[in-house]
Symmetry: C2
Subunit: 340 residues, 2 copies
DNA sequence: ACGTTTGGCCCAAACGTTTGGGCAGCGGTC
DNA sequence: GACCGCTGCCCAAACGTTTGGGCCAAACGT
């Protein structure tokens, strides 16, 4: 644009100045260096290239998209960008997209079906080439519908149905924490399990619970409590646990922020972290290490997930067959789960 | 789109089915209800409208943009979305943009001039109608150039030069904290001042320092230390303060995350928050209240800033004269600055 | 009965690209 | 010297909209 500036320079403008046809200029500026057959004479190519960047030629993406019906745009839907986990994943997506010459379009759905529907429509109306969902619900009915409609997409962070997804191996992550708690001799453990529709929470909880069951210590239902993925949700859930008669000696929160909320609750209940109750989180956000009692957490490759998500989508758009990927997590032990 | 799906329905398709001309259909579907002169007969309008949404007509934005050279796209640049403050502001931007029928395009610049330049180019190449910068540097040379180029933009969060900006009244925020520390009787205070190129850090620090100077207690240079805006940066800066011989009794970090990092440092130095050293942050992020020692902080209307930013930009795009806005902050006192 | 207005619609150009077909001229082969 | 295959370029259509202008018929005024 440029209200005061010169009109943007077009292929036509370049062609006119050089006495060439617009199509010739188009081919020249288009041909990737490595391409096969030469498209014009050495000299012409040179002149066109020079003039193009002397004039600062920028192809008009709308014209291109109109003509080719490819927008090089990717729509990304996340529950909320103010969730550090998703924001970090999105940073990975953006980086990788830029490497592929793609631009991304991100929208918050708040994990709310109506908003998701509305935002998806908006994004689709923009004629994106494909989508990435970071907010999948395990019941994949929405996504099934979309897939049936022929929209190419991949999932990140959460899996759903058989749709291609890049996730952390959440089940394994849960097992790692369980293993650690078992090592410490904990038998009365609790889980702050996140939202029931998110595969992350489900799988992390399942891995954790399975490992304890294998150790002969099944976790009673009332010690597994759902929550939102933020500090406040973790606080509320932990209140639930600590108001009951059956105090846990260790708590696994499936998300660092929920864990921080749990720390708040523990404080409010006059208990001491580690000494009275061990706490572990998930994702190993940068905050974990800075907390007054540093937080044990499972490191998940968030940025990497974004990268892989784009890679997967790009392959999908090329028509390749793609399969889900599961990245491996790593337990980082800190003072919040020190040996009592 | 829709690999398997039907071709998207166009104006032409609707026109053909109804024996009308495409231009007629265009006008009908375009006319906002409240518009003046009728554009077609009642009956025709009805038939077109009905068929359009029966077929699920979606205007092709590329064609529209090509024709009108308006994209209804806004480019947003932020240092990093994984900074909760910016992510929250962006959520506000997105909400407000959606209300105006605009879509937003966000990119991370990492506060790095080269990346900023590159991302700006990319966004401009997409022919956005306007931009919002959340990463302005006080030396506005980059923005001056852009403005000279005729690109319409506004700033949020940080101000720079005379460019229209929506900010928090950071200076006032700094004063509020100073006032509070003075009330508590602190005389040896320090500031973790953020990055020297960000107006937020500068103004908050200035407000704080000015108030202390007015109270006859100028703050020595060595107790004002710069830092990045994240936990690690705050930690490092605080280490600086607490490794010296001249221990402060109160620390103002211009950002909650830096404050959290300071908490980590205080812990490492065997000091107790509040009892030994008071701490205050800025932004009142949701984490502040959950910390083991809840954090005193200045609440800034982040989401609101996003809203106002879009409003300002929209007015600017309409050609109106716009002026900067400064939203008022509020001090929230918590245990981290309890009376010793 | 005859000009003039109005309602309702169509025409065509334009926005900036991409791309399948051409069509000259030129160097070589038989 | 007829033929072939290049090289280097041009032509024109198409993508889906928007929009200034026009045209026809009906309604209106006197």
């Amino acid at each position: 644009m440029g209200a005061n500036g010169t009109r943007p320079v077009t292929l036509q403008a370049i062609a006119d100045r050089l006495g060439l046809h617009v199509s010739t200029v188009s081919r020249i500026l288009h041909a990737k260096p490595g391409q096969g057959g030469r498209v014009a004479s050495r000299g012409t190519i040179e002149r066109v290239r020079r003039l193009a960047d002397e004039l600062g030629y920028r192809p008009n993406p709308h014209a291109t998209s109109l003509r080719t019906s490819r927008s090089n745009l990717i729509g990304v839907l996340v529950p909320r960008l103010s969730d550090l986990v998703l924001a970090t994943i999105y940073e990975g997506i953006e980086e990788a997209a830029a490497e592929h010459g793609l631009s991304t379009f991100v929208a918050n759905t708040r994990d709310n079906p109506d908003t998701r529907r509305a935002r998806t429509d908006m994004v689709l109306a923009r004629r994106v080439d494909g989508m990435i969902f970071g907010d999948a619900h395990v019941d994949a009915v929405f996504l099934d519908g979309l897939a049936a409609g022929g929209v190419p997409f991949v999932l990140v962070n959460r899996r759903a149905g058989e749709h291609p997804a890049v996730t952390c191996d959440d089940y394994l992550g849960g097992r790692l924490v369980a293993e650690h708690f078992l090592d410490l001799g904990h038998t009365r453990v609790a889980v702050i399990a996140g939202e029931p529709h998110a595969s992350t929470g489900i799988d992390r909880t399942a891995g954790f619970a399975d490992r304890f069951r294998e150790a002969g210590i099944p976790i009673p239902e009332h010690r597994i409590v759902h929550s939102t993925f933020d500090a406040r949700g973790g606080h509320t859930a932990a209140d639930h646990l600590f108001n009951g008669p059956d105090l846990p000696s260790a708590v696994f929160a499936v998300n660092d922020f929920a864990a921080i909320g749990a720390l708040g609750s523990i404080r409010d209940h006059g208990l001491r972290v580690a000494a009275d109750v061990a706490v572990a989180g998930f994702n190993d956000t940068p905050l974990a290490v800075e907390l007054p009692v540093p937080l044990t957490s499972v490191r998940s490759p968030m940025r990497e997930m974004g990268h892989r998500g784009i890679d997967l989508l790009v392959r999908l758009l090329k028509g390749e067959q793609v399969t889900s990927e599961r990245l491996v997590p790593e337990l980082v032990v800190r003072a919040s789960s020190a040996r009592p």
